[in-house]
Symmetry: C2
Subunit: 204 residues, 2 copies
Amino acid sequence: MKTRERILFTTLALFNECGEPNVTTLQIADEMDISPGNLYYHFKNKTEILSELFNWYEKEIGEILEVPETSLTGEDQWLFLHLIFEVIARYQFLYQDLVNVLSRHDKLANRFRKIINKKTKASEKICKNLAEQGILNASDKEIETLCKSIVLTATYWISFSTVVDGKECDSTLNKGVYQVMTLVLPYLREEEREQLKEMGEAYL
Amino acid sequence: MKTRERILFTTLALFNECGEPNVTTLQIADEMDISPGNLYYHFKNKTEILSELFNWYEKEIGEILEVPETSLTGEDQWLFLHLIFEVIARYQFLYQDLVNVLSRHDKLANRFRKIINKKTKASEKICKNLAEQGILNASDKEIETLCKSIVLTATYWISFSTVVDGKECDSTLNKGVYQVMTLVLPYLREEEREQLKEMGEAYL
DNA sequence: GTCTATAGGAAGATAGAC
DNA sequence: GTCTATCTTCCTATAGAC
């Protein structure tokens, strides 16, 4: 692995562990056993490292959000949500200090907003599809509010868990997926609702 | 107003506007037209100011959370939620950089966790009360998950709005209260559900 | 209580040798 | 590409005069 790439992976790990504002360029260099000068040979400054990591994140989350063109079966929805949660977990640092990080980087703020909107649109698409099939019983307006709750929960679940339960653990993501699914639950047709409840219990 | 108190109010305003990590002691002093030396005469350091502000917050939110001893009518629930949102808005800075702020102050992390738990207990109490009256149709387990969603939404609503809609505005809090209420909506008995929907429309 | 001046330290970033 | 050395800037916090 080239140094440039190693810097990015090391930084990502440190950002996630300590929070972006608490990580210095010296720390990154130390962790990798290279000199700060070397780090600055590869990146003009800390912002440029952050920027590149954001590109990674944007690409990964974008690819997942492209998927739901076709209608999703019950199990596919779990998988879809799980994939989203996994990417969020991999780029936790962005979410944990969201306002702070975005306030110091105008351009990222806009791009992040677009991703949130994409997520909302994707969940609305899935829900409206279910509604047309008669599986989900909700008006368009109800779906909009519901999807806002879905995206909000997905966005902050890991932070919330960290604050409430202390450290994050293996089941954190599963619990998050479950929490989101329960938001949809009451709107489902009885048959699918029972089915989802069973899946939820198996899942946790 | 004494200098010590003025420092606290100025700091609170700056923290909310710029984020706690971005505010320096020099900035606080500048904003008040006093010298940094004077500031350090009143407070040992920045942490001590934060600490005192957290005391304020803890007291204010605590007083509201004491209230729901008796069962709440529909309108009282809106009011209760609104009061909670108002306190959160007044101490926004805590919520906007939650993981970051708490990670640098162990003691605050514990106290904040306790407040979150208190909030969860309070909403569970209200919901179980409604369930006993037959107004809310949900099992104890469903109520637990629901209340987790309620508290999560209340905790992060303002941050989420800031990220999604750009700057915060007058209707932000109202929309937050509405968003939380819609979480409860599908579990309500038809009569109360329709009533709540109407109130929601009037409210926004 | 309040000021000015300043010590002390941490972090970002650069220059120049190898 | 990588290192060492160093500059600058910014921030916390203190000392000592008024």
